[in-house]
Every structure is written in structure tokens, then in C-alpha cells.
């Protein structure tokens, strides 16, 4: 029997060596394509770290944009220095009478330069008594809007004696009216001021200017980037990851804020096989094999939601603490498995990528401490070391991703 087997084996060995198979199907281009794909993946991983330096350019673009915008706005900026006018704000009831009674003549007392955005000048004729000038009125639901015309105070007789003044077809009206880019809202104050005209105007002006320059801004937004180190069960850290995104916040109180965001994260991690749950991949594993270790990376969208408290605030700095919870939407997971046969100790490497996504809502707790520096007009620069702790396992291997890093963000109050 053995000799039969040996003879048969020898026959099959010869057959395996010399059987006539067509071998002209070589396709070098396919092999090159596969090799290039792998090299591109490796190259991209190398360049991942180089691209992190580009994050530093983002605040510069923000700063440059702010300076250009400020330069434009400064041409139309509100002048806080208001000179005392001679007369008070107009009384609408006496308007028609005043206009009829006033005599013709140039405006001898030059009106104060009351510069609202749009530089509306509000000249007042000294001959008028306790009146102002109204070109047109528009009644709104709550306040009366008075259009203040932009005019050259050297032109005489523009305001009250011109017969065509209130005539919309007159050239004066047209010219002046068309020069009004802004409408100044004057609520009931306009009708109640009598005795102290310049103070009234100044207070109105102050209020208006203060409303324009220091609004009660509760919403803020910004961009955030960070370097991230991820580990599983406090094992060694593989490669640094990163994340970049946007941040939105609402100040509910002087010291309390709610923040939400959206960021794109890339995490690299390593784990021993014992911390990698194989229930989802057991069907694809070689029989009787175990996983020795796994090197993985994942790209995901993170949606953090946190509550921030300002511990100490000065005019230039702020110390804060925040706590929150994040959701991970994992886009793509890639793993390099090292599996082995316990019986023999022989090992294999196997690479697998999982393009399908998995959602892990409210799965990560985030704790952070922040140091914010006010950058004047640019906004606020915040440095925030953080720690993220998982509440449950995530991904293909139900791994517990723990991350720590430093958030760098620039925020600005919006409205």
C-alpha cells in the first residue's frame, strides 16, 4: 500500500511541475496599482503629521480677515465725541408750526457731528426753538423712525425754509433723501426731552452708539483643532491623532456657557488581543486562531456637547472648566491584526478595512480645563487640555478608546 502511495505521490509531483497551464495572463499594471495604493496609504499617513502644521495657518487667516474688515468699518465708525448742539430733539407735534414760523436763513450754529454708521449729520438751525429737523417720517409698529439726512452744513436754507423741502420731487429732498443710507431709530425719548437738549442728544447718541458698539452678544463661534493621543485600557499609544472642527457656544449666564461642536477626528491606537472583542469578526478568522495584537486607526465625526464654567475672569484672561458628553460617528476603521495559533505559536499579519460606519451616541465623557486669552478684536484664543473617557465599547472590536490632548481654539462673539 505504501509503495502504491509513494508511486502515486511521485506521479502527482511530476504532474504538478509539468502540467500544461497557460501562463500568459500576467498583468503587471494590476500589481503596480495595488503596490501604489498601499504606498499612497503609507505616504498619506506620513503626511498626516506634516499636514498638522497647516492648522497653525488657520488663526492667521482669521486675524488677517479681521484686520481687513476692521479697516473698512473704521471709515464708517461711530464717533463718540459728540459736541453739544444748541437745540433739542424735534417735537413732532410742533413740527408743522415750526416750519411755518421759522424764518429763512443759513444755519449759523453748526450742528454737532453726530456720526452714526453712515455718517448722518444732524444739523440744527439756531433759529429754531427746541426743534429738530425731520425730513421724513415712517411710522412703524413700535417706534417712529426718523430719517436723518446727510448734508453739508455749509449749505444754507436746506432745512426749513425751502419750499420744496418736504416735497419729495424737489431736488433738495431727492438729493438729501437719497444720501441717507441708514435710518436712526428714535423711540419715545424724542418726544420727552425738552430742558436739556444737548444732554438728551448725547444720551440718545450714547445709547445708540453703545447699542451699536457693545451689543449683548451671547452667541459665539469658533474653530478648534487639537493633537490627540488615544489608548485602549491605558496601553501604549500608537501614533498621535488629530481633530479639527467648529465650535458654537451660548452664554446662558455670566459664568456659564453651553457649547456644541462638530469635528473630524483621526485616531490611532494599539491594543493587545485580549481587549479586542472578536464576536463581530470571528466568522472571518482562521479556525483555532487568536488575535495577539491589533494596530488600528479610525476616522470619525465627533459631536461634543458640554457645559463650561468660568472660574476666574480678568480683562485679559479667563480660567474655565468644562464637562460634557460626545457622540462618535465612526466612518472607517482599519486594522492590522496579528493573529496566531496557540498550539504552534505561528503568527500571521492580516490587514482589514471596514468602510461601514457605526454610531455611538453619547458614548464619551469629556473633561477639560481651559485658559482663554482675549486677542482684542480677533477674538479669544483658548488653550484647553482635555481628557475623553469612554462609557462603552466602540467600533468593530468594541474597544474602549481613551483620549487626551490639547484643544486650541479661536472663538468670537457673534451676536
Amino acid at each position: 500500500m505504501q509503495s502504491v502511495n509513494d508511486d502515486m505521490d511521485e506521479l502527482f509531483r511530476k504532474a504538478a511541475k509539468d502540467y500544461p497551464l497557460e501562463t500568459g495572463s500576467a498583468d503587471w499594471d494590476k500589481v503596480v496599482g495595488q503596490l501604489s495604493k498601499r504606498e499612497r496609504q503609507l505616504l498619506f499617513r506620513r503626511y498626516d503629521k506634516k499636514l498638522l502644521w497647516l492648522l497653525l495657518l488657520i488663526p492667521f487667516s482669521f486675524i488677517c480677515n479681521e484686520y481687513f474688515v476692521d479697516a473698512d468699518q473704521s471709515r464708517m465708525a461711530v464717533n463718540k465725541n459728540i459736541k453739544a448742539p444748541n437745540k433739542s430733539v424735534a417735537d413732532k407735534n410742533s413740527l408743522s408750526k415750526t416750519n411755518k414760523n421759522n424764518k429763512a436763513g443759513p444755519a449759523t450754529n453748526v450742528a454737532p457731528k453726530f456720526k452714526a454708521p453712515g455718517s448722518a449729520l444732524y444739523p440744527i438751525n439756531s433759529n429754531e426753538q427746541q426743534t429738530g429737523r425731520v425730513v421724513s417720517k415712517r411710522n412703524t409698529k413700535q417706534t417712529e423712525e426718523t430719517a436723518v439726512f446727510l448734508t453739508d452744513h455749509t449749505e444754507p436754507g436746506l432745512f426749513h425754509n425751502d419750499p420744496g423741502f418736504y416735497n419729495k420731487t424737489s431736488p433738495y429732498f431727492k438729493r438729501n433723501y437719497t444720501q441717507i443710507p441708514y435710518v436712526v431709530k428714535y423711540p419715545s425719548l424724542m418726544h420727552s426731552v425738552k430742558a436739556q437738549p444737548h444732554q438728551a442728544i448725547a444720551s440718545v447718541a450714547d445709547k445708540e452708539s453703545s447699542r451699536w458698539e457693545k451689543p449683548d452678544k451671547r452667541f459665539y463661534a469658533g474653530i478648534v483643532g487639537s493633537l490627540d493621543a488615544t489608548s485602549i485600557q491605558f496601553q501604549r499609544i500608537d501614533n498621535p491623532g488629530y481633530d479639527i472642527g467648529i465650535l458654537l457656544g451660548y452664554k446662558i449666564h455670566k459664568k456659564w456657557s453651553i457649547e456644541a461642536g462638530l469635528s473630524l477626528d483621526k485616531k490611532y491606537y494599539y491594543t493587545k488581543g485580549e481587549y479586542f472583542n472578536t464576536s463581530k469578526i470571528r466568522a472571518f478568522m482562521p479556525p483555532n486562531s487568536e488575535i495577539a495584537s491589533v494596530n488600528g486607526n479610525c476616522q470619525m465625526w465627533e459631536i461634543p456637547l458640554s457645559l463650561r464654567y468660568e472660574l476666574k475672569t480678568t480683562s485679559k484672561h479667563t480660567l474655565s472648566a468644562s464637562a460634557g458628553i460626545s457622540s462618535y460617528l465612526m466612518n472607517r476603521e482599519s486594522y492590522n491584526y496579528l493573529y496566531y495559533y496557540p498550539a504552534s505559536g505561528q503568527s500571521w499579519e492580516y490587514y482589514k478595512s471596514y468602510p461601514s460606519s457605526s454610531k455611538h451616541l453619547f458614548s464619551v465623557v469629556q473633561l477639560a480645563a481651559g485658559y482663554t486669552v482675549k486677542l482684542h478684536k480677533v477674538g479669544d484664543l483658548r488653550l484647553e487640555p482635555y481628557m475623553k473617557l469612554p462609557l462603552k465599547g466602540m467600533g468593530v472590536g468594541s474597544i474602549h478608546l481613551q483620549s487626551a490632548g490639547l484643544h486650541v481654539s479661536i472663538t468670537k462673539q457673534v451676536f
Partner: protein
Amino acid sequence: MAACVFIYNLYRLEFLHTIINGCVQNNPKDQKHLYERYYGYCLKIVFRYIYRYDKAVDVVNDGFVKVFRSFSKFEYKVTEHLEMMLMGWMRTIMIHTAIDHLRKNNFIPEIGDLSESIWMHEDKSQASDQALLYKELVKEIKKLPPSYRTVFNMYVIDGLSHQEIADTLGISIGTSKSNLSKARVILQKIIKNNDKQMNICSL
């Protein structure tokens, strides 16, 4: 004459060494030379494991990608056995790649006939009769269930031990021996049937 052969062998050795060095440095030209030179050899190995020809081609290409990626791990000395060492190393990679493919499909048997276009057609001579015989034998190997086919190929043709087969496939030595025995029984039956038919035809 002997001198010519010697010089020729030296040249081949030097050429091979150059190609190997080039592949270690990821030189595309040397990689392409290696691929074209040993493609047929690798395809014949893989085709014994993988039933379908197109799948076998894909597995060979995957195998070559692994070869080029791990060329730095190929330890060699520039001796007359350099080509044998290289071919043995590539054979191991190709076998493992083929087994990985079979494992992905859970060793499920494939069905369907093999197209005649995948075989090389020799001219009508004594050598071609032998080639036909070898072709039929390989076809019978391919008809075996994947698990039997793999063990038979690894033990009988590729010369691995039962221990090595068990470690590679993650089975016990007993299972390896059992599969081999079953494969032999099936092939012996087929050979005996073919002999009977030949005897009947010759009568």
C-alpha cells in the same frame, strides 16, 4: 562547453542578484523583471489550490504584492542556490496567500467546469501525451474538496509536514492525516477507473 555553462550560470546569478537588490530597493523595473520571470511558476502553484483560473490569477498578483512588500525580509547569500532559495521563499508566500483566499471563502467547494482555454496546447508528440496525463491529474486534484485538496497539495507536492500543515491551517495533526488519507482514496479510485477504461478501450 563546460566553461560556457559556467559563465552562463555566473551571469544568471549576477543578474538575479541585481534583480533582488533592485526589488529590495523597490525599483519598479527590477520588480517587473521578477514578476514576468516567475509569474508562470507561481501561477502553477496557486492553480493547484484555487479552483477557478481567474481567481488564481488574482491570488498570484496579491502574492506578488506581498513578495515585493516583504522583500527586505528575504535573507539570502549569493550562492549557486540563490534562485532555489528565492523560488522556495516565493512558493511559501504564494501558498499562504492561496490558503488565505480559501479561508476567506470558508473552504467552500466551487462548482463549474474549467475552460479549455486555460490549458496550453502542445503539438502532437509523445511529450504532449504526458502533458495531457499531467493535465488530467491536476484536474482531478482540483476536483477534490478544498480541505482535502489543500492538505494533499501541501503534503504530497509542496513537501510540508503534518505539523506544519496543522499549524498553517489551524487544524490538528490527526485531521491533517485524515484529510490526506481521504484525498488519496478518492484519487486512487479515479486512477483505477481511468486504467480500467483504458484497458477496455485497448481490448
